[in-house]
Subunit: 429 residues, 2 copies
């Protein structure tokens, strides 16, 4: 295949995320390329040391330690940057964009500090700059702000965008731990870095809200303009007293547009327990965007990790590589079979009224048994004294829908049955 | 301005949504056009009766009752369809797409029943078909499925996508109402139609999950292939017993990809109270998408209404009208002022240890009073007996950050103060 019929890709960085991006591109090349009119080709990967062993198997000559091999390769049109850090990434991205190469980056620090000037560089050269992976892992938030929600005047963004601190705060809230203990646990489980400063002091969240605030209000918000306070001062007692008052404690990153200007801040807050953001637990992220038309929209998911970040990067890469401006290409539709409802396997909840007399439970239970359905719980509830009935609430272990429907018919045929009130399915969490 | 330098738009339907779309296009023409390289122009609006009075003021000659005026106008490249219903909308959309005109539609029934064939018609003529508004109001979900999440193998979609039924189920859960009473309340408040069949029987949700399932699995899922069960059989007792077991009851629309094929179903389920979907209340919608890379992502917001739907339509319109395939145009950056932290106005939570002696409370209170900060609650907590201290937890009414910082300094200067433990801000819900 001629090189000029391919979409040439360069990759900067081959750590955990770079490794998964490279693997995904190599293992799912046809699937990703099916969204495009030309196949993708991973031409070059920049690493510090080409001699180190790598988890992913790359063709000879793909690894390089010279950035110029990517910058000056005329067949590389798209560059994915997952090196992290400001230096030299910011300089690299500027030079790539100036040369007209489109950039897909996961680099929050670079985008927070240099985003507006890099976007201008992209505009000048006609290149694209996409950075969905820089905030919220694989949660779509940059795309929605730039596209889906663009008709709105955005009034505020409030976000839990640091999984490390939300994990620590959740532990403190649920287990009454002190900050130091919760931090040590988070470090032991890999949720916090050995040097956790950027997370626990709110710096990482400040980068991300600078990016989101800049996009939402279309004005440059620099990280040093974000008031930033971390969670190191939190104590177990604060959680106890906050709960008594009806609140959870969360590290929020907030960007608001007011008559007096834009305000951006990161600090712990007391948040009413009924708020959607108060319900975000563990290492999850959530971003609430308030628009004049759409009202509040919340985006919730895993905010970090190699796989979610790869999801965002590949999505950006395909969007950037689409030449025709269309949202989709005409992939042939697959013809998957439909699985019939009778083959569903799930748990059930059944509520019936039965004659309140001895021996009834065993009759009901034997219908379940005949259909190989295992009862998980059975509770007798008050029924109708005049009719002499009692209610039964039964939940089952997972069973086939067909078996459950047969059992239901069997129960309906019992002389002791008064009424089937409801059969509901129990959905896993 | 010459017509050929404009983006000509036709609008089918001028009910509540059509009216807001027309108003938005007329009142925010410059803002919407700023995302594009040419201005937009609303050229024609199709209505049944051109003589009826209209809430929006349109130029002479814009209203028409003849679909051919839009179909055959060479200067109309984009058509927004908000008529609703299958007939004649499906036929209109087919003819528009065949003619190469791009279509933005909010029509879930047409997209559920004819989506795949309409998408093929668009592919054949090179037109675009966008339908973000057909599911979840203004919540971005079609765009994320088509673009941001395309690197994922989607394993399941689980959604609360009918606001009427979620409102009714929330009322039943919270107030112990029976179905009929809750339905009547929803109708009185406008959350349910006078004829609520489509909502309460699950038909509306089945349309929407057919659309989402088709997109997620790239295979045609027809509404009649969706197992559909409504909420009319729900009783107050089911909520009582479900709560005892740790569940909420929700009407879920589910599309799953299994080894045995695609399964799509709409029915009430018991859902563990800790699940994100169980926490979705009232008329809100939420869609959970599970992908192999991204894990579970939840999109939450208002699922209906003229303003949210307009948000989705305008977003689609701009995306369709972008000719260069870029995600953004180079709008000049605004230079909004930053509002200083000192000007923040919010509520506060303060925890201090003080000498456990008489007169201390009045000293603290007077510092707040001097700074015009009104105390909302004050609770004395156990302190350290050996040190002879007590803890105070104080919350305030909204106050300026500058005043609160001055007050904090004043409290620190009090001889009765032992320690300031924490000053936190209280975020509104």
């Amino acid at each position: 295949m001629a090189v000029n019929n391919e979409i040439g890709i360069g990759l900067l960085g081959l750590g955990g995320i770079g490794n998964q991006v490279a693997e995904h591109l190599l293992q799912h090349l046809d699937a990703v390329s099916s969204h495009l009119d030309r196949p993708l080709s991973l031409r070059r990967v920049l690493v510090r040391d080409t001699a180190l062993p790598r988890a992913v198997t790359l063709a000879d000559g793909v690894l390089t330690d010279d950035f110029n091999d990517i910058l000056n390769d005329p067949d590389i049109q798209f560059v994915v940057e997952v090196m992290g850090g400001e230096d030299p990434a910011a300089d690299y991205l500027k030079r790539l964009l100036d040369k007209g190469k489109s950039v897909i980056t996961a680099n929050k620090e670079v985008m927070a500090k240099h985003g507006p000037s890099l976007m201008e560089a992209a505009d000048r050269s006609g290149a694209q700059l996409r950075f969905e992976a820089s905030v919220g892992g694989g949660i779509p938030i940059i795309g929605p702000l730039q596209n889906d929600l663009l008709a709105n005047d955005i009034t505020s963004i409030r976000a839990i965008i640091n999984g490390t601190t939300n994990y620590i705060l959740t532990k403190m809230a649920q287990e009454g731990l002190d900050f130091g203990v919760a931090l040590a646990q988070a470090q032991a489980l890999g949720y916090a870095e050995p040097d956790p400063t950027n997370d626990i002091e709110g710096i990482d969240a400040a980068y991300k809200i600078a990016i989101l605030g800049s996009l939402a209000f279309h004005t440059a918000v620099a990280p040093e303009q974000v008031y930033t306070e971390g969670i190191t001062g939190m104590a177990a007692e604060d959680f106890e007293f906050a709960h008594e008052l009806g609140y959870e404690i969360k590290l929020l990153a907030i960007a608001e547009r007011t008559d007096a200007g834009v305000q951006a801040r990161v600090h712990p807050v007391l948040l009413h327990q009924e708020s959607m953001l108060a319900k975000v637990e563990g290492a999850f992220n959530a971003i609430e965007v308030c628009g004049d038309l759409v009202g509040p929209v919340v985006f919730h998911g895993q905010g970090a990790g190699a796989a979610p970040t790869t999801s965002a990067i590949i999505g950006d890469l395909v969007a950037a590589a689409r030449r025709d401006g269309k949202s989709t290409t005409s992939r042939p539709w697959s013809k998957l079979p439909m699985k019939p409802m009778a083959d569903l396997e799930t748990q059930y909840y059944l509520r019936v009224s039965i004659a309140d007399q001895s021996g009834v439970l065993s009759k009901i239970a034997s219908v379940f048994g005949e259909n190989n359905i295992s009862i998980a719980s059975l509770t007798q509830k008050d029924g109708d004294n005049q009719l002499g009935t009692a209610q039964l609430v039964i939940t089952t272990h997972p069973a086939k829908e067909a078996a459950m429907q047969t059992a239901l018919q069997g129960i309906k045929n019992l002389s002791v049955l008064h009424k089937v009130h409801n059969l509901l399915r129990v959905e896993p969490i």
